[in-house]
Every structure is written in C-alpha cells, then in structure tokens.
Symmetry: C2
Subunit: 232 residues, 2 copies
Amino acid sequence: MTYTYEHPKADHTVDAVVFGADLESASLQLLLVERDVAPFEGMWALPGGFIHRDESLDAAVARELKEETGVTASYLEQLYTFGEPDRDPRGRVISTAYLGLVRPSQVELVSGTDARAAKWIPIQRLPRLAFDHKAIVTSALTRLRSKLPWQPVGIELLPKTFTLTELQRIYEIILGHELDKRNFRRKVLSFDVLKSTGETRSDGRRPAQLFTFDRKRYIALQKTGADFEVRA
Amino acid sequence: MTYTYEHPKADHTVDAVVFGADLESASLQLLLVERDVAPFEGMWALPGGFIHRDESLDAAVARELKEETGVTASYLEQLYTFGEPDRDPRGRVISTAYLGLVRPSQVELVSGTDARAAKWIPIQRLPRLAFDHKAIVTSALTRLRSKLPWQPVGIELLPKTFTLTELQRIYEIILGHELDKRNFRRKVLSFDVLKSTGETRSDGRRPAQLFTFDRKRYIALQKTGADFEVRA
DNA sequence: TCAAAAGTGTTATGAGTACACCCATGC
DNA sequence: GCATGGGTGTACTCATAACACTTTTGA
C-alpha cells in the first residue's frame, strides 16, 4: 500500500445462496450451515465468510462454500451486495451475495471451519436465519425464478443424460408449480441445445429417450445473440 | 467491535455510472470527473469514493455523487460489485457500482473533493478511464439498454410535463436508434401510467398534447405484479 | 389387460413490427 | 399555401397457453 486513509475500514464477506433439487426432491432446498461461533452461534446461516487478501469475490465464495459445506457449485453468479451499516452486530460488514445451484445427491456435505453442520433444508421449512440472510435468500429466489427458468440452468441439477420428463420435473421444483408437458417439450427443444443420445431408459414403463446438454452449441448460440430469456 | 480478525481488510468504495440525456442531446452522455489525486491523477473516472462508517451503500453513492459533481440523481440502482484483487493500484479496493440517470440541464455541475472538474461526455467519445471503470461503464450501459427501455425510466430525463414525441426522443437517445412513432405511442400508452394534462404546447407548429407521469398509478400497477419488462 | 409414463398437434389469443397518410398550426 | 411536426390504423408474424388422446412397456 502506497497510500493510506483515515477512515475505518469495513469488513467484506461473501455469502452463497445455493439451491439444490433432485429428481426425488419434493421441493427446492437451500444449503445452510449451523454457526459454530458468535454472533448467532447455533443459528442457521448461509455459508460464507471473509474475503482473502488476494482473491476475487468469485474465488472467495467458491472457497468458502467448499470449506464450510464441501460443496463445489456447478453454477454461481453474483446477486447483490448488502451493506446496511447495522446488518452485522460485529461492526461494519458488507457482504456480496451469490446465487448458486447444485445437485444435492452429487455432493457430500461436510462441516468445516466456523460451522457445526451443513444441511439441505426445503425452502418451505426454513428456520430463522442469522444476520439479514432471510432477505438475501428471498432476493435470490426471486432472481432464480424470474431470470433462469428457461435458461438451460435446470441442466446443472441433472446427471449428464436425462429424459425430458426429468428436466421438466426440475423446472417444476424450482418454479413451485406444474408445467404443461407438450408446451414444455416444444419450448425446450426449440432452444436447440439438447441432443438426443439415441439411447433410451425404461424404469419399468415405456422407455424414454435420453438427452444430453450440448454445451458447445449453447455457447455458440449465446455468441450469436440468441436469447433464452423467458418468464414463467 | 466486540470481535477482531487477523486478516487485512479491503477498502470498499462506490462508483456511480450516471447517464444523462436532454431533448437537445445528440446522444447519451456520461458524467465523469477528472481526478485531482493519485493514482490516475489527471485522468477521467467515475464519480465515487470510500464508504463512511455509518452509511449504507445507497447513501454513500448519493453522497459521493453530490460531493464530486453537485448532482443529485433522480434514479440510482445497484449494478454490480467489482472485486478483482488488482483493480486498484493502491491495494485491495472493492467497489460497488451504481447505475443512475439524470437530466443534465437540470443540474449544475460543480467540482468537489478529489476532483478537478465534473463533465458530461457523449458516450461515443469517452476518453480512457481510470481503474477498471471502462468495464463498469460497459456493463451499466448494457443493463440500461436491456432492462430499462420500456420501464418508464425515460421519465426521469424529462420535465414534469412533456409530449409523446419528446418521450420518444429520450428513448431513442438511450437506445441509440430510432423507433416507430405509432408503435411507440401505442406501447407507452398501453402501460397506462401517462396522464394527459389536457394542455397543449405549440412550438410554432401544430400543438402537441402534454402528458405527465402518474407515479401513484405506476406504483399501484407494480404491486399488482404488472410487468414493464421489454427488450429493444 | 391394465397401470403408468412417454409421446404428440391444433387452435386461440396477444404482442411486436412494419408500414403511409391526413391534420393543425405559424409563417 | 406550404413547411413542419402531430397524430392515427391495419395486416402479418410469432410466441404463448390451453387442451386430450394414443403408444409402449412390464407386471
């Protein structure tokens, strides 16, 4: 540092709002940790923590998430920065929140530093949360539902190959309501980013075609300015 | 502070990307300040600065904007937080950027602390900017154009009463291209937030009807979940 | 042969876009 | 009477949303 300032510095943290859904899930789940240290010891909170000296915000949130829960999110985007002066009893702490998606069955939860336990909790049954984390979660859920539904984000919550019914199920879990099968299929296929593998899978009923997400094609389409924006 | 940490703290700043347009403007303008202190002394930069101990981010950006340029923005929203470790030569500085709109003719520019001069500069002729401010401006412009066009934001850039042609002109300046008069009128009136005053104004030609923005109605519509989202 | 999920097409509606002419006024 | 900006309507296209039956399989 070549320059100095008179003013007291705020702390800066990152918090991760990571949603999970499985095909077996009844509903969307949120990844929370039980705090092991004051303040709010024993309460549930979003995974997160202080930013290290030489890491970007993106790197910090990925690291904290990994440390506190063992989770590596397949998708993480910056959401909003919360900076009310009184949001943290320890003093001035500004926090940048991220929105993430993860397949719960794919990860093994561990408990790490500053956290007793990491756990998936259905969004209908959220406990009281530490700090202003409830407001952060609300804003993340709004963003997820409004911005992502038809972006091929459900993909992150499925195995490499999946049936269209499974994909639909994921969207329904995220949105919290049912979708029309025919409209869903037409729409999702019209994006032209799903590739049939030719394989089928039968669960004991009529076999369903298996699809994969064509990430290259997706990136190519994005560059041409094609637009996946849609509302629910 | 009841707790202490071992880690070095980052500084936190706010930066304001404030766009301006007048009816007389040929194009959208950006509010910049010429830096009076190192680093980047003498270079143009976004107005902004360090957050005070007991103010929110929203308050900080409004204060800095006022101090450095004399401008009180009629509209300011949080854009994104930039936190690459090397974005500021002074050391670790994380910055939360805001997007704002202002009517240039309505404000008197002043020069304040840390700034030699404040100035409106057409976005086609932007000079090199200090720090990573160019990237911030690009992201603000994308957001403005993609998110705001049909939200009644052009309103902020007009006097209390205005003609539909004037409103259209503002949208054209923001978007950087022309719009169809008939489609524009139908659309903007369908939102049902403009009220005819009954008055007319003649500039020497056929008199045009004057409208006002019905803010109460706008708020009422927002609550019912009505949605002004549109693309250009 | 039955249960259960896979798969498939049509119609109606609303939004967006393209497009050209008459109107009222001041000079 | 003419130049200037004000003001208006229609037709096409495309996306969405609502809606029901047939197919394939395993048990």
